[in-house]
């Protein structure tokens, strides 16, 4: 479980996060949702330690990540996997080398063990024939899948996904969402997904946190979100015609 307490972050005079508390549960897809510019990605970067919060702390299964020493941070980070918005694959490496990278640097596995693990992960994300391809030769959806394979190759306890559906068509988006959900259930990991896609919310949202202008306004699951009594959340959830139709039929 990941616990965040009073996370505050400012950039110059601009206060982006204004004291956010919350918990992200093990074995669940925890979603952080909100409109653009509400601080979702900044919160995620604070959680994974790419940005240091001005105030507050992040605990990973009781371990204080924010105020821990470098050894603790490295230890926790080696239990993380992250899928970035733009996939962040290494351009100069093939798909196979990208997925093998964490194993090469962080483990002492033999070449055979590493190849076996990489084959398994690529198979798990449905890319068994893409080993030798370069990132520039594959589609956006495939890049996301390679990103997921790289994120899970080291058996992480925590999986983070920053806008996993951005730039993807609806069908591929659902495939990626389902993959994230399946991996979360299969390996009992704590998954945190930043998204503003309502399809993802309805598809995989076990636990949802809604951010609005740097505040947490609501928390719940994908059933209760449709009945929430928060105006800002309703404006976000029912912004499109399809969701308004669902609401009118409820």
């Amino acid at each position: 479980m990941i616990e965040i307490t009073n996370i505050q972050k400012s950039f110059g005079d601009k206060e982006v996060l204004k004291g956010i508390d919350g918990q992200f549960y093990k074995g669940q897809a925890n979603l952080i949702i909100g409109s653009s510019g509400t601080g979702k990605s900044v919160l995620l970067k604070n959680i994974v330690g790419l940005i240091k919060p001005n105030e507050g702390e992040v605990l990973y299964d009781g371990r204080n990540f924010t105020h821990g020493d470098n050894n603790l941070k490295t230890e926790v980070r080696r239990e993380m996997g992250m899928l970035f918005q733009g996939s962040a694959l290494f351009d100069s490496m093939t798909v196979q080398q990208n997925v093998m990278f964490p194993l090469n640097v962080l483990t002492k596995m033999s070449v055979e063990e590493k190849s076996e693990r990489v084959n398994f992960c690529l198979q798990r994300v449905g890319l068994e024939n893409a080993h030798k391809k370069m990132p520039s030769e594959i589609s956006g959806g495939m890049k996301k899948r390679v990103g997921i394979a790289r994120a899970i190759v080291n058996n992480p306890n925590y999986l983070f996904c920053d806008e996993p559906n951005s730039g993807l068509d609806p069908q591929t988006s659902i495939t990626i969402d389902n993959l994230i959900k399946e991996i979360t259930d299969e390996y009992e990991i704590t998954t945190v997904v930043v998204t503003h896609d309502m399809n993802s919310v309805m598809e995989i949202g076990d636990h949802i946190m809604f951010l609005y202008k740097g505040h947490k306004l609501w928390e719940g699951d994908n059933e209760s979100i449709l009945h929430a009594d928060v105006e800002e959340l309703n404006n976000f959830v029912f912004a499109n015609k399809m969701m308004r139709r669902i609401k009118s039929n409820m």
Binding site: V48, G49, L50, N70, K73, V76, R77, A88, P102
Partner: protein, 243 residues
Amino acid sequence: MRSLGKYIIFLGNLVVRRESFSTYLSLFFDECIKIGYNSIFIVTIVSSFMGAVTTIQTAYNLVSPLIPNYVISLVVRDMTVLELAPTIIAIVFAGKVGSNIAGELGTMRITEQIDALEVMGINANSYLVLPKVLASMVTYPMLVVLAGFLSIYGGYLTSVLTGVVTGTEYVYGIRFEFIPFNVTFALIKAFVFAFLVASISAFKGFYTSGGALEVGKSSTSAVTTSCIAILCADYALAKLLLG
């Protein structure tokens, strides 16, 4: 001052939380090829012409019959060893390698590849930059030796082909009152310049933020700052070791 402080912290981070030796070894050799081997062509062209032009211009200026012809090659030798090979080639090196390092790291930064390394628990400073700095410090002195040789040889070919100095006079001149310390001095300069170019360019690229435009600006800034640093270090080393 803030940038200088940030640069010093950046250099400090190169040597903490390192990965295994074998990881760095393969990266180091890759960088040696990218930085050193791939610069041989441009260094060859620049240094050969540099020697040729220096020979012709020195001959043009030394018109007194009291000055023997071998002085031309003596001047070419000292100019090459003391200044042209280590410093002018360093400027070329900053243009080629510096912009490449800054562009590569800047692109990695804006496409979140550096963030990906950090999230994996890898010290991105050390993993990405240390092999580049070490490879630069190992290969650049070799390039300077090559440049010195080719510059003097370029001067020899020019003098023989144009007839401004005979081959025998040229060889006599380059051996006349040779001071071995000048070569040591050139190599010391090469080490310092290589470190400055690689570390400054990496620093500029590593802290790029924004998009493609900012990557371009980082590359330009890397070359400009490296050139200024080379010239300042050149003066400081000359004053310190020769003055």
